[in-house]
Symmetry: C2
Subunit: 118 residues, 2 copies
């Protein structure tokens, strides 16, 4: 059973979705994103650095993000911004999430034939 350490492992692909969505509004760096996600989800979702950094690297490699180094107070930060490809990817992820969500919602509601949002 184990005490809830972060999340009881209940979603997939969500990290990427959240990260892209937050970066759409403004450029951020990894460490900042970790806290931004906690704040945006009211501590409901906590993504550790071990999740965020690999996702950022993968997204950049895929051309969905661009990064630039910036020195702030003697410290180096790596800021990420969303590319056009990244926006497209975000749109696709949102669509997938919406459909998944509708599918589950209608099952939970017991809707026999409620039309899934298209």
């Amino acid at each position: 059973m184990a005490a809830k350490s972060t999340n009881p492992h209940f979603m997939n692909g969500v990290p990427e979705l959240l990260i892209l969505r937050l970066l759409k509004d403004r450029e951020m760096y990894g460490y900042e994103l970790v806290q931004a996600i906690r704040a945006a989800t009211r501590d409901e979702i906590t993504l550790g650095e071990g999740v965020v950094y690999p996702v950022l690297h993968a997204l950049e490699k895929d051309g969905a993000l661009k990064s630039r180094r910036k020195a702030v107070a003697g410290r180096t930060r790596v800021y990420y911004t969303v590319t056009a490809a990244g926006l497209k990817r975000l749109g696709a992820l949102i669509g997938t999430w919406a459909k998944l969500n509708d599918a589950i919602a209608s099952t939970l509601n017991g809707d026999a034939h409620a039309p899934l949002a298209v």
Copy 2:
């Protein structure tokens, strides 16, 4: 890109949620559940037998389900019903799902401080 074989791997813990929810309405057997899930989600979510059976076994082992064998047309089916413990578990899963969903929705909407449904 690879043709969508079943699902592009986008959820977690959902199988258990869907199975418990469907069994809440009426007793069903594994093979039937596979198709019921496809029907209920309009093909949006397809869980193979390799997913459904292990979940059923695990839930039964945990006391969330009870099974009984029934011979139908010379064939043996294993019907599952939800126990009281199973209903409790279902309630918890629904709650978790709702919170996760609200958290993601408010992030996607960019709500700075919309109160999460409680």
